[in-house]
Amino acid sequence: MSIVTAPPQGAAADPSTLRTSPLAPISWRAPIIYGVLALLTFVAFGVLPAGGRFTTFTFSTGTDLFAIAPVRVPSKSAAIALTLIALAVAVLSFVTTRLRRRIGPWLPALFGVVEVAALLTWAVAGKSNPLPVTGLLAGSLFLATPLVFGSLSGLLCERSGIINIAIEGQLLAGAFLAAVVGTLTQNAYVGLIAAPIAGVLVALLLILFSIRYRVDQIIVGVVLNVLVVGVTSYLFSTVMKDNAATWNSPPRLATLSIPILAKIPILGPVLFQQNVLVYLMYVVVAVLQIMLFRSRWGLRMRSVGEHPLAADTVGIKVNRTRIRNTMLGGAVAGLGGAFFTVAAGLAFGKEMTGGKGYIALAAMILGRWSPKGALAAALLFGFSDNLQVVLGIIGTPIPSQIMLMTPYAVTIFAVAGLVGRVRAPASEGIPYVK
């Protein structure tokens, strides 16, 4: 027996025929931003500075298989050349916008690279110290580590429908416990293992209030951050400060060079001369990227974050899924917290995470709730953080206060300007009640 009628003509809706009207207003935001920035930098870095100075970039470290010679360029001409490329990008963006064509993410990436290169050429012009490119990149990756773990934690929770604002608190708790346990055992690795436990404890509170008592998840998260700051600061002042040798002098995680790989010029020192926490980060990002989109666990978790009732009607336990993933998220953020103490080789200090948890949240959004996107966004923020450090050491014409502001300014610009239209998991923040 066949179906009674064939579908009437025109009834089969083809999504590709959803027309984008010629009437739709064109958004000129991107080309205007590119154009203004390119012009400003062309004038500031290329036209205005006096000529005759040189900028030196170094690429090699002592352990490389072969050395790359330092690059010495005339500052003015190099800056002009680089900003002209940026201007070309702006023109290309203008043309494609006008033609209503979309271009891939390589365009903003190219723009960013040439603009940063122009900035560096100008900032280091005439200095006796060369700019160590490899060191700048290695430091960026290192500083990005807590941001990567933090945003992975956020996306694990949000993909299953729980908003985790408590990343900051989980990082801080992880940093605290790693320091204490690392000091007590005099073993940085034991401290590293302890850190996730602290993150899970904070996550359990988040679960209790958001799933059991259905309190607004954003408020709970903020309150938990304040709570962790309070508890760790109290313990720091009453116990750790006066007795630092017993409680707060954690050993540092050793830098592990991976044989052969570590000797590749530029890439080796950046990627393969790091400590175990950074290597763990590579593994966690890769595993989550695959598991989230291809495994049964990932499919069920995303279904719970998007349409919990649909998940329930096919027999998936919604709240159990959310609880497990929020705990996992807490563990990941706690592990990231170990960065601040045992990985960086620092003693625990009050509020030492300094808002990195919130920047991690921004990285998660900028990375569109995907692990590889979160990694890329966190690297951007890590780079801007380290740039400020490196330029501070070399000495630049830019006031230090402005330099300190860089990572936060980049965060705001990135989230406000680059994100565009993103879609959060549809049911995040909404408690599931049958």
Binding site: I3, A13, D312, G315
Partner: protein, 526 residues
């Protein structure tokens, strides 16, 4: 598989949603569960599907009692359900949705997507569905989404399939296809429980009809029972199925919409160069399947959405660019399609809801404060006039039934001199009595000379109330036709087929419901 419900009772607080319901579904039968909105049909099926625990009673499968802790147990027992609101994740593909919860896996619990695709294709081919396993759900039309839901249930070897109001979102032709699918499933031995309040469909497809009213089974009937008998059983009194109205006496055109285009925030053209007129004393119905630009049309006229092109002239005054408040004060009454979100403020009292649009003007406002006595007095008067059943006008409006809430909306929007009435889905989710009331009020408004724009996805409502019918498809006008147009022709137009072609196609092939119509007409005559 034989399915039996015995003495099922489900209470929500003091409300008894199901009161000792007995129901037997024999193997391979299409069993219609007929009842008004709010009669307790969906509650019963949610009990059967393990979403609710019954307070009393038993479910038996092949005469053996079973208990379901959750939908997983019900599915394992061979019960599948297609919910009224589809249980599909919009950002997942068809294959992902079908296998969700019983995923084929390989290796480290990675989803075996090729197998999932094969599963979808196999069932899809068996029943002649045309479904691409890799399409995203959000890009599919509702008819196709429903087929995905059926595939989902069948992929779990459902022997009993519950269809909860499956035709609510379909065009007549899609409904016809669904009826074909139901017959196919029946032939393959699947039992079907078909929940609906539409008499016509029940008669076209059911083997047995059980009627539910206020949570109780009030009787059963064979499908040959006349519509009026089924209707009175369902409502509890004899009802007049038709709407009585005088022929329209249209005056000069009052609302002139010209070249109106709306683009949504995602950049998609939702309303494309729409031009029409509504005369004084006439009801122009805008027919279309949900999501074909109706919301944007109402929004653009009212000023909720800014059109990218076009003009809206009401008695010669341009409304485009005027704010919502100015538009309302120019004499536009608006009954919004989503009553609970846009029509009322649930936690406000009935009296407060009645003055939402005029709270800042005398006599209700005195300086910066409200005059509670005037507000209450006016509310009491309107509540009487519109026959709203309540205990006090100071009660929150959320304590009222849907029908009474809608009467409050009508009272607010229609108890002032109007120059245009826009009624968007005015009877959605209402019981038969309230539907009659709303229709009478709208026709009365027309009879005093107000132009009326009725937006409805219910073809029955459009045919009953309209004087002329405008069909929208993907934001464009397919045609404007007289009220006497054939149902099958309109059904094809709802799917975007132009009038002439629709007439040819409809003449060649009548749908099951269209045929049922013809038979019903012949019965009436004889």
């Amino acid at each position: 598989m034989k399915l039996e419900l015995r003495g099922i009772t489900k209470r929500f607080g003091s409300l008894v949603a199901n009161d000792h319901i007995d129901l037997v579904v024999e193997p391979g039968e299409i069993h219609a569960l007929l009842g008004e909105n709010g009669a307790g049909k969906s509650t019963l099926m949610n009990v059967l599907y393990g979403l609710y625990d019954p307070d009393e009673g038993q479910v038996l499968i092949d005469d053996a009692p079973v208990t379901f802790a959750g939908p997983g147990d019900a599915m394992a027992a061979g019960i599948g359900m297609v919910h009224q609101h589809f249980m599909l994740v919009p950002v997942f593909t068809v294959a992902e949705n079908v296998v969700l919860g019983h995923e084929p896996v390989r290796g480290a619990r990675m989803i075996d997507l090729p197998r999932a695709r094969r599963l979808v294709r196999e069932i899809s081919d068996r029943f002649g569905f045309d479904v691409d396993p890799d399409a995203l759900i959000e890009n599919l039309p509702v008819g196709a989404q429903q087929r995905v839901e059926i595939i989902k249930a069948l992929s779990r070897d459902a022997n009993v399939l519950i269809l909860d109001e499956p035709t609510a979102v379909l065009t007549p032709q899609e409904t016809d296809e669904l009826i074909g699918i139901m017959r196919q499933l029946k032939a393959a031995g699947t039992s079907i429980v078909f929940i609906t309040h539409k008499l016509r469909e029940v008669r076209a497809v059911a083997d047995v009809i059980t009627v539910i009213r206020r949570g109780k089974v009030v009787g059963s009937a064979p499908p040959s029972a006349p519509e009026t008998e089924l209707a009175s059983l369902m409502v509890g009194r004899s009802v007049d199925l038709g709407v009585t109205k005088k022929p329209a006496e249209p005056g000069e055109p009052a609302l002139r919409v010209a070249g109106l285009s709306v683009i949504d925030h995602a950049g998609v053209l939702q309303l494309d160069d729409v031009t029409f007129e509504v005369a004084r004393g006439e009801i122009l119905a805008v027919a279309g399947v949900q999501g074909n630009g109706q919301t944007e049309l109402a929004g653009a006229i009212l000023g909720l959405q800014k059109p990218v092109a076009g003009s809206v002239l009401l008695d010669g005054t341009e409304l485009v660019g005027a704010g919502v408040r100015d538009t309302l004060r120019a004499g536009v009454g608006y009954i919004p399609e989503d009553r609970s979100d846009d029509g009322i403020i649930a936690s406000f009292s009935v009296a407060e809801n009645l003055i939402l649009d005029v709270h800042d003007r005398p006599p209700f406002a005195r300086g910066i404060s409200l005059d509670p006595a005037t507000v209450e007095a006016s509310a009491t008067q309107r509540v009487d006039e519109y026959d709203v059943r309540l205990t006090s006008v100071q009660d929150p409006i959320s304590t009222l039934s849907g029908g009474n809430q809608q009467k409050v909306v009508l009272a607010r929007e229609m108890s002032r001199p109007l120059r245009l009435l826009i009624a968007s889905q005015p009877t959605r989710g209402l019981d038969v009595g309230s539907i009659e009331f709303v229709h009478r009020r709208i026709i009365a408004e027309r009879d005093v000379g107000t132009p009326v724009l009725l937006i409805s996805t219910e073809l029955d409502e459009v045919l009953a109330v309209a004087d002329r019918i405008l069909v929208l498809y993907r934001g464009r006008i397919v045609g404007i036709v007289p009220q006497k147009t054939d149902r099958d022709v309109l059904g094809l137009m709802l799917a975007g087929v132009p009038l002439e072609e629709a007439q040819v196609q409809a003449a060649e092939h009548h749908t099951a419901l269209g045929a049922a119509d013809i038979i019903a007409t012949q019965e009436e005559r004889s």
